[in-house]
Symmetry: C2
């Protein structure tokens, strides 16, 4: 009834496929995905960004891009472009305020389309912003693609480690290399320069050490990052340093 | 193949059923659910708390409760008790670090069991901590229960309103009354007493106004709240005020 597992097809003309995942929502996974994509594009790479969060697409807002995609002569869907990144999101196809009442097979149908029917190539890297969490949908999506690697985004608190570990276990069980862990909202710098830790400390490090992968970055809680997301202008365009830390 | 939609059965001996939802993860929905449950129990009500987040159960950590539930003589599952709240979570049945690789029909089977086969009664209120988001799973769960009302948890930023609206639309389309909106992480009080807004302002108010429901509370970003969650001792037990705001 589900249309069966999706075949792992390599994507023609796409050199690397990188999944960005989180064990739970709200850790800044989409923020990291969009800034990573735009940062790499600024460095000259050909980048694609696929918003695979079918239920809560954030790409249209965060990349300030909207519109109905058209098909090209080969009947493949042309991704919409923003900040030199080729983008695809279910948000381009549905109204913002309607919950997307998808049943399982329809969800996988859409993901399959995003992978196989979109004219992505040529790309150096396609970044897949997975839905938050480690459930059925995430599993099926990962199994549908030949992933070169993955990044797990987490926050510093102890309880976040449990969720991040679920993300790491998910990739491990599917034989996908984890490039590293990104700890977001690590600290907040007060006006007087003092650093405080509203979300605790150490979660990213603990997760990275447990799986012997690098802690790629500790990103601060910074209203510039949030405003970048709200305004649809990823902060890496104006504040390159934290992205370079990620590269 | 899914076992069909679940029949909306009233739960015998349970007076009110309240769903706590969010348009996206990480807004503090489970924090609000656990503190609401414990706060109401402290006021003398008979309270149940069902962790319906099958993929990322947080109840065992936040309520410091774990163990294999037993069946009673009527072959109904006895909820585990914590802080005078009857609790049920998939976390009692699986190992913490394994991603739960459920396929759709299994998920709904578990939810059905949690509703119909658990010895909840007698209860004044059963609080259902829904999975974050507004997808297929949430829809099916809401349709399975005769909900008295719901609460939508959000954060202050503009982009959060879009997600919160999806939550509101979901309840509206299913004819479930929304009791109100809770805005979490509204402000951070610095050591010198100054209030700052790391997550922006106004999202909760905007959502509440748009649907003409009350903004029930604006909860601060407070490490005591996070530590309460991490330690499994909901903050309302030691700092009753913010919960009273919710009641
Ligand atoms: N480092 C940060 N500082 C401030 N706000 C942040 C930061 N990272 C993310 N945010 C904000 O937190 C919210 C959740 O981030 P998002 O990327 O949507 O999380 P996820 O994809 O994990 O659900 C967004 O409003 C975003 O702008
Ligand atoms: N008001 C708050 N102040 C500080 N930390 C908070 C607050 N509300 C939630 N948290 C923390 O934020 C994280 C996410 O909260 P959680 O309740 O799990 O969100 P959700 O259920 O929406 O995914 C947890 O670590 C929690 O302790």
């Amino acid at each position: 009834a589900h249309g069966g597992p999706v075949q792992k097809k390599p994507l023609k003309g796409v050199r690397h496929i990188l999944a960005v995942a989180s064990g739970k929502g709200g850790v800044g996974k989409s923020t990291v995905s969009t800034n990573l994509a735009v940062g790499l594009a600024r460095l000259g790479f050909k980048v694609g960004l696929m918003d695979a969060d079918i239920y809560g697409p954030s790409l249209p807002t965060m990349m300030k891009v909207k519109g109905k995609p058209f098909a090209n002569d080969d009947r493949r869907i042309i991704p919409l472009e923003s900040y030199q990144v080729k983008c695809m999101s279910i948000g381009f196809l549905v109204e913002d305020d309607q919950p997307i009442i998808w049943r399982g097979p329809m969800v996988m149908g859409v993901v399959r389309q995003f992978l196989q029917d979109v004219a992505w190539d040529p790309l150096d890297v396609l970044i897949i912003d997975l839905p938050p969490g480690t459930g059925d949908a995430q599993l099926t999506m990962i199994q549908a693609v030949d992933l070169s690697g993955s990044v797990v985004v987490t926050t510093p608190q102890d309880v976040a480690v449990l969720d991040a570990v679920r993300g790491m276990e998910m990739f491990k069980s599917l034989n996908v290399p984890v490039i590293g862990v990104v700890e977001n909202m690590s600290y907040l710098t007060l006006p007087d320069g003092q650093q405080i830790h509203p979300f605790g400390q150490g979660g990213g490090q603990a997760t990275a050490e447990r799986y012997a992968v690098p802690l790629l970055a500790k990103l601060p809680l910074d209203s510039a990052i949030r405003e970048g997301g709200d305004q649809g202008r990823p902060v890496v365009l104006d504040h390159g340093e934290s992205a370079d830390a990620l590269m």
